[in-house]
């Protein structure tokens, strides 16, 4: 029995058992999760506005585009929430393959390079998509589908499914690595790790894989497979003061901006470091520095707390879900958001190396917003269907 057949057979009996109307699913959404996501989007919009308004006198072009992105994202959220997520299980391989196709397309001359990463497909009219963002969702669905069904008579996934999942992960990671996009590659790895953890793979196998990953990372390091700038950015966070004008510049400046916000912040639009554009990529990867400077410790911890609410609600949805596919999907989405949030905030406060990862729901960036919002929609869909009357 192929994976696909199994997915379809499961679909058959589950759908028969419990069907929830599409429109009523919207009313059954997790309100706390929704409010947290909306709050993050509103804060993100303000921060994008603050960090881009000095680009040109009266510059509002970017923040308008961001608002449009958020609105489209909201649409995707609603749409995904209305879909019966078990239907997604059936189409998981298709979605995965489509996202892989996107990744391949990027490598071909169709793709474009922005900020040193060959990660984009330009659509014209100032719009561009980043297929690697959708690859995250594609991988989540595929891995959930593979690991959801335990082997006959056991509670753990079949070895073949695990190997298949790892191969699918490796394929996606490899393609993203070619762009090169170290951050997204790591997110994919973390999604897979989350799948193994929640999927119930034996601890010893997880331990072995962790060792293998470490060995692989060491090999990448010692065989010098990374670009020099990636190595430099990776190590600069350990000691940014050695080269404050070079690779340490980002770390130094972002610490300055956040630290100078102190407890209460300087107020929206009042951040001198933000206005002076000292922190590079301030509307995207370093958006958290604006929160730190203008909203202070109270504001920045509020952002972290809102992200925490999203993550904990996600875990709650995963726990309450009775079917293992939904649990896995929700758990992996939590891993994805959690890892990205931690790495992103961590790099702005000198705890983590600088990798080009946006802060979910806050950073500017269309594709990332779409993918994140769609993922939240999937969470809501799972939530909607786990409630018994």
């Amino acid at each position: 029995m192929s994976s696909m057949d199994r997915a379809l057979s499961v679909r058959g009996d589950s759908l028969a058992r419990r069907t929830v109307g599409a429109s009523s699913a919207l009313w059954r959404m997790d309100g706390v999760l929704l409010v947290a996501v909306v709050a993050l989007c509103v804060i993100g919009t303000l921060l994008v506005w603050s960090s881009t308004r000095t680009w040109a006198p009266g510059s509002t072009g970017l923040v308008k585009k961001h608002m449009l992105n958020v609105l489209i994202g909201a649409g995707l959220l609603a749409g995904a929430a209305m879909v019966d997520y078990r239907w997604l299980r059936a189409y998981a391989p298709v979605i995965y393959l489509l996202s892989l196709a996107g990744l391949v397309l990027v490598i071909t001359p169709v793709g474009s390079t922005i900020n040193g990463s060959h990660s984009w497909i330009l659509l014209g009219g100032g719009f561009a998509v980043q297929p690697s963002e959708f690859a995250k969702l594609g991988l989540v669905l595929l891995l959930a589908m593979l690991l959801a069904q335990p082997a006959e008579g056991t509670i753990r996934p079949r070895t073949l499914d695990v190997v298949l999942g790892l191969l699918a992960t490796a394929l996606a990671m490899g393609l993203v690595m070619l762009q090169p996009d170290l951050g997204t590659t790591m997110v994919l790895g973390v999604i897979a790790a989350g799948a193994l953890l929640i999927g119930g793979v034996r601890k010893r196998w997880i331990g072995l894989l962790a060792l293998l990953t470490l060995a692989g990372a060491a090999a990448v390091w010692f065989l010098e497979l990374l670009e020099p700038y990636q190595v430099a950015r990776f190590t600069a966070f350990l000691n940014p003061s050695t080269d404050p004008r070079g690779v340490g510049y980002n770390s130094t400046q972002s610490l300055l901006a956040i630290g100078s916000g102190q407890v209460f912040g300087k107020g929206l639009f009042e951040g001198g470091q933000t206005t002076g554009r000292f922190v590079p990529e301030q509307h995207t990867d370093f958006i958290f520095t604006v929160a730190g400077e203008e909203f202070g410790f109270l504001g920045s911890t509020a952002v972290v707390a809102l992200l925490g609410v999203v993550l904990l609600r996600g875990i709650g949805i995963a726990r309450r879900c009775e079917d293992r596919f939904g649990t896995l999907v929700a758990g992996m989405i939590v891993c994805w958001f959690g890892f990205q949030a931690f790495i992103n905030v961590g790099m702005t406060i000198g705890m983590m190396p600088i990798t080009g990862l946006p802060l979910p729901f806050v950073s500017y960036g269309g594709t990332a917003t779409f993918a994140n919002m769609a993922a939240v929609g999937v969470l809501q869909a799972i939530h909607a269907r786990e409630q018994r009357l």
Binding site: I198, G259, G272, G292, F297, S300, A305, G308, F342, I349
Partner: protein, 695 residues
């Protein structure tokens, strides 16, 4: 079976989710703790650091005060110019160390690229001019007086000229050109050492800040400079100004009103130039005009001179070398205050006074033979002519030497001669010091010389310093001189031998030479002028002043510069009048009569004393020290021509020219326009209106 496995599966998954939840909570807590550390604990530190990166201190230079003459006319004023400056730090960071930028800049400015590179290198050992003496962290002015078109070419193409700016700056302008150049001084960029030495100055100086380096610019630097303003400008990371955060306006420097009269100064300059022409071998000349009653300086000239304008906008190597060269006559050096020359017979006023104090009768008769034996050596009158028996009055008018030789010799003998008493009186040296010779006058100009009064103590000190060398030469002789002039080498060797054994001795000949301002006696022209001013007025030796009053740019007086009295002549009014009367006859009947032929003595009577000092191996130094009018004198004028020859023929005509200008007479004594109204110096500093001009 299936439900059991399902329940166990759920438990497994929920256990794993619990791990995930713990992980999430831990990481969130880590972020929170770290944010607390960065924003709350270390916040103030980051605020400080952020302010530093976010703002630039821009020093707004204060307008430097003008220097005006006694009637409010500018001696030094400001004009604006477009100056191109280069930020060397930024050039140094470029891969080619800014070569391409400098080459492009050279193209725009029309200068050779090599000169551009030379101008921005730091001065130091082994680096010739042009070089940058200022701080390496400040923009270096590389070209002044650039055209608006050139400035725009640079400013509008900043991408081609990173680190290059063009801005309007105030630069000094000297309307009198070379006149009084050494008195006014010049400006040069402040050096890093000066910045380091003077704490607190670092904030007050910008890259274009200049310090007075000589003359009045240096002495009154603090007052003229003003207080620079400060602008704290918020900038973005490209250094683009976003707005002004804090601003302190600069306070313009005070205007310095001097007692110099620009017209008299020009007259002095012309007179000195003519004196140089008259004496073909002359290598320099100085002229001093003092307000005799107040001690203020009306004119102070020294030739050769130079145009201080060459310091503006950087001086070239050739120009700088020329300023210092022996051949050009060291035009930077003011001979009036730094030049030390033997005074010759002008010194006799001091010798006469010394005789009076030592008990020689004022109205006595003194023998003036053609020659006087000092020990076994004859000391001669000028041309060896005896003048018979004279009063001291005539001795001064006719400049008899032998009377003074005798007096000096007798005083020396009374002090014990070659074997001096424990306490010596040395009346001549004491009187010379009372006249202010041998010490600085204390004028408000830098680098003044003290002159030299050679007494027994000075001789002993000199011997201490030179004995070793003399004794060595006494043995080895002068083989290099012997090659060309064996006779002279033999003489020098004997002299060295003598100096080695008894160089400490103040001998009879030294005393005799001293009495007529010869030998080792050295004075500056300014010292002589202050001495004569004291003699012909109230007997007070003053420390002359050039600066008169400091006023704010709007004309409000800040302070008047007083003329301190630094000594008093030990002569009573009768004695001073006697000497003055004697000197009053010199231009009409004495040694300066030739120079003053045709001068309308009935209108303005002039007194004075000629001096002709012998200098070994050179032409004589010509002097004329004078005062006018003889009744209640207002002016003291001293002229000195180095290697000029006779005082009466080389220096006195220059003094006459100066008086012609001051009082308004032509060569043949007809009335002409006087440069000083009614022949009087200004008695009050000029009042300046709120716009800085003379009322």
């Amino acid at each position: 079976m299936r439900s059991v496995s399902r329940g166990a599966g759920l438990a497994l998954v929920r256990g794993r989710l619990f791990v995930l939840q713990a992980l999430v909570l831990t990481l969130l807590a880590v972020l929170g703790v770290r944010l607390y550390q960065v924003q709350v604990v270390r916040g103030p530190e980051f605020v400080r650091a952020a302010t530093e990166t976010r703002t630039r201190q821009v020093v707004v230079p204060a307008v430097r005060g003008q220097i005006l003459d006694a009637r409010g006319r500018p001696l030094v004023r400001n004009r604006t110019t477009l100056v191109v400056s280069v930020d060397r730090e930024r050039l140094a960071k470029m891969p080619d160390r800014g070569k391409a930028v400098l080459d492009r800049l050279a193209g725009v400015l029309g200068h050779p690229p090599r000169e551009m590179r030379e101008r921005i290198r730091a001065c130091g050992p082994g680096v010739g001019k042009p070089c940058w003496p200022g701080s390496p962290y400040q923009p270096i002015p590389i070209a002044g007086d650039v055209s608006t078109r050139q400035a725009l070419q640079i400013l509008e193409r900043q991408e081609s000229f990173p680190g290059v700016t063009a801005e309007i700056q105030a630069v000094r302008q000297y309307p009198l050109k070379t006149a009084a150049a050494q008195v006014l001084g010049y400006l040069q960029p402040i050096t890093q050492e000066e910045l380091d030495r003077r704490k607190g100055l670092a904030d007050a100086f910008s890259g274009v800040d200049l310090m007075g380096r000589d003359g009045l610019e240096s002495v009154y630097d603090d007052e003229l400079r003003g207080t620079p303003g400060l602008r704290r400008v918020a900038v973005d990371r490209m250094g683009k100004a976003l707005g002004v955060e804090r601003q302190v306006a600069p306070t313009a420097g005070h205007t310095l009103i001097t007692s110099i009269d620009a017209d008299v100064q020009m007259v002095v300059e012309r007179a000195l130039a003519n004196a140089m022409k008259r004496s073909p071998k002359a290598d320099g000349a100085a002229g001093v005009v003092l307000d005799a009653r107040t001690g203020r300086v009306i004119a102070l000239g020294s030739v050769p001179s130079y145009d201080p304008g060459i310091w503006t906008g950087g001086i070239s190597a050739a120009e700088y070398d020329k300023l210092l060269s022996e051949k050009a006559g060291k035009p930077l050096v003011s001979r009036a205050i730094k030049g030390e020359f033997a005074p010759g017979s002008t010194f006799k006023v001091s010798s006469v006074a010394a005789m009076l104090r030592d008990g020689y009768p004022l109205h006595g008769k003194y023998d003036c033979p053609g020659s006087f034996m000092v020990g076994n050596r004859p000391f001669n009158n000028f041309r060896g002519i005896g003048l018979g028996t004279l009063t001291l009055h005539t001795a001064l008018v006719k400049s008899c030497d032998t009377i003074f030789y005798r007096a000096g010799y007798e005083m020396w003998q009374r002090d014990g001669g070659i074997k001096p008493k424990r306490v010596v009186k040395e009346p001549m040296a004491h009187m010379a010091r009372a006249f202010g010779f041998g010490s600085r006058t204390g004028i408000d100009l830098p680098g003044e010389s003290a002159g030299r009064i050679p007494d027994r103590k000075w001789k002993a000190e000199l011997w201490d310093q030179t004995r070793e060398q003399s004794c060595k030469r006494a043995k080895t002789g002068y083989p290099d001189v012997a090659k060309t002039d064996p006779g002279r080498a033999e003489f020098l060797k004997r002299l060295a031998h003598e100096n080695c054994l008894e160089g400490y001795q103040f001998r009879a000949g030294d005393a005799a030479n001293f009495s007529i301002g010869q030998g080792d006696v050295l004075v500056t022209p300014l010292q002589l002028a202050t001495a004569y001013a004291a003699l012909v007025t109230d007997g007070k030796v003053r420390s002359p002043r050039v600066g008169w009053q400091l006023v704010r740019p709007d004309g409000t007086p800040v302070r008047t510069i007083d003329v301190p009295v630094r000594g008093k002549l030990p002569l009573n009014a009768k004695e001073r009048a006697y000497i003055k009367n004697a000197l009053s006859q010199v231009p009409s009947d004495g040694t300066a009569a030739g120079a003053f032929t045709g001068w309308p003595m009935d209108k303005v009577r002039i007194g004075g004393k000629t001096g002709t000092a012998e200098v070994w191996g050179k032409e004589d130094t010509a002097w004329f020290a004078s005062f006018a009018p003889t009744q209640n004198p207002r002016f003291v004028v001293v002229a000195m021509v180095s290697q000029g020859g006779m005082g009466g023929s080389a220096a006195a005509p220059a003094v006459r020219e100066i008086y012609e200008g001051i009082y308004g007479f032509t060569k043949d004594g007809k009335r002409a326009k006087a440069v000083l109204p009614a022949g009087r110096p200004a008695t009050e500093p000029p009042r300046l209106g709120p716009d800085g001009t003379v009322d």
